[in-house]
């Protein structure tokens, strides 16, 4: 993970300054979901965002993942303000700097595991040959332990295997940050353990992992737990380094 190594620990990978988010219902009514969030996440951290449903953890993850825009405040990713960047720039950031793992895997049906994994490469602006893309996809699938299943369709894979394909897809562009939204939500407890072990391995390699979960069991795999309640952070604002000061 060369890109994470180059990021110095002085500049936080993610910095939120006074982030607000309100959803507009009708013309007048504004429903505040996030209120004045200030947060720093350093490169290489393993963070869990937890909270009851409706606490705003998913909204926060969407903002962090550049899928949604905050109503107010600033969001710095890798030192650049991305909260107000153009849609195309944000698409590029999602492609190069962020990997997503979803609860429902979101694999393309009737498409081989390999083609699912190399799908994000279509949208990189570096022109990779089909051969090179295939090589990278195979390497990724080997890394998540699916070397034998490259040409299987999602319907021929178990839930755990599908989630591993999704993880391989998230990592194909070597992003510094990996977002996982309830990655074990659709899995049984044994497969969940396998998947969480994989996150541990990835963290050991230096990838920053941000996990959204309502399960404390899963959250405890993380090194830092940020708890949200009613759109505010109630604990875990400061990471290990800050709390040590």
């Amino acid at each position: 993970m060369s890109s994470t190594e180059t990021t110095t620990n002085d500049v936080p990978l993610i910095r939120l300054e006074h982030i607000d988010k309100a959803y507009r219902l009708g013309s007048e009514l504004q429903v505040p979901v996030l209120k004045d969030i200030n947060l720093e996440i350093r490169s290489g951290e393993y963070v869990a965002l937890t909270g009851a449903s409706g606490s705003g953890k998913s909204t926060l993850m969407n903002i962090l993942g550049c899928l949604d825009r905050p109503t107010g405040g600033k969001y710095f990713l890798d030192g650049t303000e991305v909260g107000s960047a153009s849609n195309d720039v944000r698409a590029l950031i999602r492609n190069r700097k962020i990997g997503f793992v979803f609860q429902s895997f979101n694999l393309l049906p009737r498409t081989t595991a390999l083609d699912n994994v190399i799908m994000p490469l279509q949208y990189t602006n570096e022109s990779l040959s089909a051969k090179e893309a295939k090589r990278r996809g195979e390497e990724m699938l080997c890394r998540v332990g699916l070397a034998e299943r490259m040409y299987h369709h999602p319907s021929q894979l178990s839930g755990g295997q599908q989630q591993r394909v999704a993880i391989a897809r998230a990592l194909i562009n070597n992003p510094p940050v990996l977002f996982a939204d309830e990655p074990t939500g659709n899995l049984d407890s044994k497969t969940s353990v396998d998947v969480m072990k994989m996150f541990d391995e990835l963290h050991a390699r230096g990838i920053t992992i941000i996990l959204v979960t309502h399960s404390f069991e899963v959250a405890h795999y993380a090194k830092r737990i940020i708890q949200l309640k009613d759109g505010e952070i109630v604990s875990g604002v400061y990471g290990e380094q800050e709390s040590a000061l």
Partner: protein, 452 residues
């Protein structure tokens, strides 16, 4: 995202649901197929019509001698003796838009005698073999005359059906000997029935012989009106062969001596009948003939033409109008079926966008920009339409061939129309694929990912 990447990605996306892709294509397949079938049948009909028109004489040009100037006015058209057999050769050799050239020597009021039968054909025409091709007139029995017979002024003739009926009582006249103006002719062929012409004249009441024979053995040199009959010439064809009102050289008014360029020759012909290679080349042929004849007649620039070229302008107009109307009709049918096909494409693409909302959300989450999504869906609908277009072209061509072998309708395949249909089907893909693609590109990734 590279173009080839988009195309392979789109093909992959389409192949994930081949049944739906095929059903989507169906509209375009039927649309383009209908267009191709209609066009091929239409063009076949057009070509057949063109041929019919040609046999009716639409592409025929008649070159008449001009009207000579005489003191106090002009004489009637065609009375100048400005056309020569050499003109025929010049036209044949130099005009590329001309297919056949026939010199014509006209004569009428001649008695046609066979045994005790006596008949006056409406026309006795002297010409060459090309005449039958220009008029699209087949010999139903016997043969036409040869160039050798023309060169040797042999007394052979081909007769029309009316003469067979009236003079020969319906039995074959071939090899019979008949008399025209006391000259014995051998009948060598019978023309097939042509019926009445546009003016109601019986076309079958005709005797056709080599022009040299008619000119030199029957009519002699025509000199037009009485002004020229005061000839002092002693040797005229009329004196060798029976004839009347003929003079070898016409007398010329003194003040017109400079106006007349050609000395009328013994071989002067009355008309030249020419066929253009196709009805739409009539004007081009006319221009070519004018240039060739002007140079052959040594006419300086300031002089008017000493000949007239006449064509069937009214026929031509009807013909081109019919063709245009036919084309417009086909175009309207084509447009309607293409719009129907296009709306079908749009429908299914919209369904496809809704069905693939999550996929779109996912693609956006992994870094696809709105433009990438727009391009992907546009390319998908373009590929659908292009493939549909190809299938339609093949199917339409096949259907036209089936109609041809089944009903015997003339069909004509046209590569240009096929290429055009392919292009149009692709354009339909872009036009009708744009709205669904635009809709897809406007999706909110979060909403799209959450879509069930």
């Amino acid at each position: 995202m590279t173009i080839s990447g988009t195309i392979t990605g789109s093909i992959r996306a389409l192949s994930r649901n081949p049944t739906r892709a095929l059903l989507t294509m169906l509209g375009i397949v039927i649309g383009i197929g209908a267009v191709i079938t209609m066009m091929e049948i239409g063009q076949g009909a057009d070509a057949a019509m063109k041929q019919n028109m040609e046999s009716m004489g639409v592409n025929t040009l008649v070159i008449m001698p001009g009207a000579p100037r005489v003191p106090g006015g002009k004489r009637e058209q065609g009375s100048a003796m400005s056309l020569q057999p050499e003109d025929c050769n010049a036209i044949r050799q130099e005009c590329t838009n001309v297919s056949f050239v026939a010199p014509i020597v006209n004569s009428s009021g001649l008695q046609f005698i066979f045994g005790n039968q006596n008949w006056t054909p409406r026309q006795v025409i002297g010409t060459n073999d090309d005449y039958f091709r220009i008029r699209d007139w087949e010999i139903s029995e016997g043969r036409s005359f040869t160039q050798r017979e023309i060169d040797r002024r042999e007394c052979v003739c081909v007769v029309g059906q009316t003469i067979v009926k009236e003079v020969f009582g319906g039995s074959s006249p071939v090899d019979s000997t008949v008399r025209i103006k006391n000259v014995n002719f051998k009948v060598i062929g019978v023309l097939e029935k042509k019926g009445a012409n546009m003016m109601g004249m019986d076309e079958d009441d005709v005797v056709i012989a080599p022009w040299t024979t008619i000119r030199q053995r029957i009519t002699g040199l025509k000199t037009g009106t009485a002004t020229n009959t005061k000839s002092t010439a002693t040797t005229t064809p009329g004196s060798v062969y029976p004839g009347e009102g003929v003079a070898y050289y016409p007398e010329q008014a003194e003040n017109l001596a400079t106006d007349t360029l050609l000395i009328p020759k013994f071989t002067q012909i009355d008309q030249i009948m020419v066929s253009a290679v196709s009805p739409d080349k009539v004007d081009a042929a006319s221009a070519e003939i004018t240039a060739v004849l002007r140079s052959a007649h040594n006419l300086p620039d300031e002089k008017d033409n000493d000949f007239h070229i006449r064509n069937s302008a009214a026929f031509m107009e009807t013909f081109s109008e019919t063709t245009t109307q036919m084309g417009n009709l086909l175009l309207a049918v084509a447009l309607i079926s293409l719009i129907v096909g296009g709306v079908g494409i749009m429908n299914i693409m919209l369904v496809s966008v809704t069905e693939r909302t999550r996929e779109i959300g996912l693609r956006m989450a992994v870094g696809a920009s709105s433009r990438d999504i727009l391009t992907q869906f546009l390319v998908e609908s373009m590929i659908l339409c292009a493939i549909g277009g190809i299938i339609g072209i093949i199917g339409g061509h096949g259907a036209a061939l089936i109609v041809h072998s089944w009903k015997g309708w003339p069909v004509l395949a046209n590569g240009g129309i096929m290429a055009g249909a392919f292009l149009v089907s692709t354009i339909v893909g872009v036009v009708f694929g744009f709205y669904p693609a635009w809709k897809a590109s406007r999706l909110d990734p979060i909403e799209a990912l959450r879509y069930e």
